[in-house]
């Protein structure tokens, strides 16, 4: 299982990559492994406001559906449209081609509340 050192994590298994005022969001390797074959990802439209801790979309595997929770608040600036037809990219490359949305971060301080790679790996070990 891969946990990247340069990312921040939520307890709901999303990752956040901050570059300047833009944050890229996806789900973790642990999450994609638990879900199994991902068949559909429902994502918001560009321009949608998302709020830290609230759902911004859903991810659907063969026998389960989960909400996707925003790590920080902001406005959606880009959506990974490839996922519409190739949802399995989330399984294949969850930190790369399987990214989900990019947001313009509204309040950078919210990122401080997220888990560090070390905290996240402790959380996962408890499962």
């Amino acid at each position: 299982m891969i946990i990247k050192d340069n990312l921040r994590y939520t307890k709901d298994h999303e990752w956040l990559d901050i570059q300047g005022d833009t944050g890229t969001i996806g789900i973790t390797d642990f999450a994609q492994g638990e879900l199994g074959d991902v068949v559909y990802v429902e994502l918001p439209a560009v321009g949608t406001a998302v709020k830290a801790g609230e759902p911004f979309g859903t991810i659907e595997a063969v026998k389960a559906v989960s909400e996707l929770y925003a790590p920080v608040s902001g406005t959606v600036s880009e959506v990974n449209t490839r996922l519409a037809d190739e949802a399995n990219l989330v399984n294949q490359d969850c930190y790369g081609a399987g990214w989900m949305i990019k947001i313009k971060i509204a309040n950078a301080a919210e990122a401080n509340a997220l888990l560090s790679p070390k905290d996240y790996s402790q959380l996962v070990e408890q499962h």
């Binding site: 559909y40 859903t58 659907e60 595997a61 026998k63 389960a64 559906v65």
Partner: protein, 465 residues
């Protein structure tokens, strides 16, 4: 042997366990005035043979369509059902109202549903059909919900005369939502396309257009689709499955959702049902499908297998986010429909449709020749048409019933000003002799009622003075 599992000893033990002295103590919280006092007044026990006789006597009070020449339609149709439909559907492997939750142990049922879906898809010219719904009305309402969810809009435009029962179901389904329903109808029940174009605005989720419409008239789905699509709305085409043996399919006409009543496909008309809702759509709306979908795949060893798929839309997995509260199907009726369609084949459905059309038009032409009668609406109809009688339709139909003819459906209750009009349906079960007998009976009823009608006009005139 008594079928009661509880003897006095067991009752005492149970009462002791829960800490009350007697059944009366247990029921004390219920006010005495609403409790049954003394024994229930039912007749004494009968011998099995006497019960049988009693049941037969009660059943004989029902009139069955087979004992009449029935011209009733209006959404439920009396077509011939080949004996093989009953025989195959009655096999114990198929004889269930349920679709399975454990597909691995029910491959046969799933395959039957898969075949049904495939045939509905081909019949309608759509890309995907689901495993069936309760009836044509609920399928129509679910299609409207799909359109509203897809477009995020809250207005539904009904083009032409939709079956009034479907309209009621639609209103019931949508009663808890903020939605407006508008109608683009001409007085003859056909679509008013100018009005439709005005009503379809940026808030319109869909246009619902039935062809044949409730009065039997054929409608132009393609024109409806054009008007709907120009403003980003969907076209929901309500179809009669047998008519598709002759007419262009909803898919060919650009419909986004095709819904209809499938009872006529191998299921008998039974008052109040059960009925069979057909529902097909475009692949792009697959995640908004209500109900179930059976798919074909291969298992881990590469062997062909059938599965219920897209279950995550269903309310037993995600109640609050399900696409519909329905996650069931009319599995038995759908199986019967699949057997029926498989037996008739493409050519058979075309022949059947042509027979219905020809006989309906033969009857309409002959009714129009009876003095005092007319067929008031357009010549383009499939198997049903409206008749205008020289007197009150109820009177005419009552006279026909005396000759064991169910002459049609009264329209007055639902449609103001239609007191003398009724809806007549013809199927392949009507022989030429039956149709001619109906014409003769109508002529006679018209003459009798004509005399009666002038009497009642005098009476009415006197009352008015």
């Amino acid at each position: 042997m008594a079928y009661l599992p509880h003897n006095d000893e067991r009752r005492r033990a149970m009462l002791k366990t829960i800490g009350v002295g007697s059944i009366d103590d247990l029921l004390r919280p219920i006010p005495s005035e609403i409790r049954q006092q003394g024994p229930i007044d039912i007749p004494p026990a009968l011998a099995e043979s006497d019960v049988d006789l009693l049941a037969e006597q009660l059943a004989a009070k029902n009139a069955v369509a087979g004992g009449f020449d029935s011209f009733l339609g209006g959404g439920i149709y009396d077509h011939y059902i080949p004996a093989a439909v009953d025989h195959v559907a009655a096999r114990s492997e198929f004889y269930t109202a349920y679709t399975p939750y454990q597909p691995e142990v029910a491959q046969g049922t799933l395959q039957a549903t898969y075949e049904y879906q495939s045939m509905v898809r081909r019949l309608t010219g759509m890309e995907v059909a689901q495993a069936s719904m309760y009836d044509g009305g609920s399928a129509t309402a679910e299609a409207a919900l799909l359109a509203m969810a897809e477009t995020g809009r809250g207005k539904i435009v009904i083009a032409g005369a939709l079956n009034p029962r479907y309209r009621s179901i639609l209103e019931t389904y949508l009663s808890a939502q903020t939605v407006t329903i508008e109608t683009a109808n001409r007085p003859d029940g056909s679509t008013d396309f100018d009005r439709l174009a005005q009503l379809v605005d940026d808030n319109a989720a869909c246009v619902i257009m039935s062809s044949p419409n409730y009065f039997g008239g054929l409608e132009d789905w393609a024109r409806g689709a054009e008007i709907a699509h120009a403003r980003g709305a969907l076209l929901i085409a309500v179809f009669h499955p047998i008519s598709l043996g002759l007419l262009r399919s909803p898919g060919e006409c650009g419909a986004d959702v095709a819904v209809g009543e499938g009872q006529c496909l191998g299921n008998p008309p039974a008052f109040g049902g059960p009925l069979l809702g057909l529902f097909a759509t475009r692949k792009k709306f697959i995640r908004r499908l209500p109900g179930r979908l059976v798919g074909k795949t291969v298992d881990a060893r590469g062997v062909m297998a059938f599965v219920t798929t897209l279950q995550t839309r269903e309310q037993h997995i995600r109640r609050e986010k399900a696409t519909s509260n329905i996650c069931t199907a009319q599995a038995l009726l759908a199986t019967r429909a699949a057997i029926y369609m498989a037996m008739l084949g493409k050519q058979g459905i075309t022949t059947l449709a042509k027979t219905c059309l020809d006989r309906a038009h033969y009857l309409a032409e002959n009714i129009a020749r009876i003095p005092g009668y007319s067929v008031p609406f357009g010549p383009a109809f499939f198997n049903e048409f409206v008749v205008e009688a020289p007197a009150n339709a109820r009177t005419i139909l009552a006279r026909l019933r005396q000759q064991r003819i169910l002459g049609g459906i009264e329209l007055a209750g639902r449609f103001p000003g239609f007191d003398r009009r009724f809806l007549v349906c013809v199927t392949e079960k009507h022989s030429r002799a039956t149709l001619d007998r109906f014409v003769a009976a109508l002529r006679e009823a018209g003459q009798q009622a004509g005399a009666g009608a002038s009497d009642s006009m005098t009476v009415g005139g006197a009352a008015a003075r």
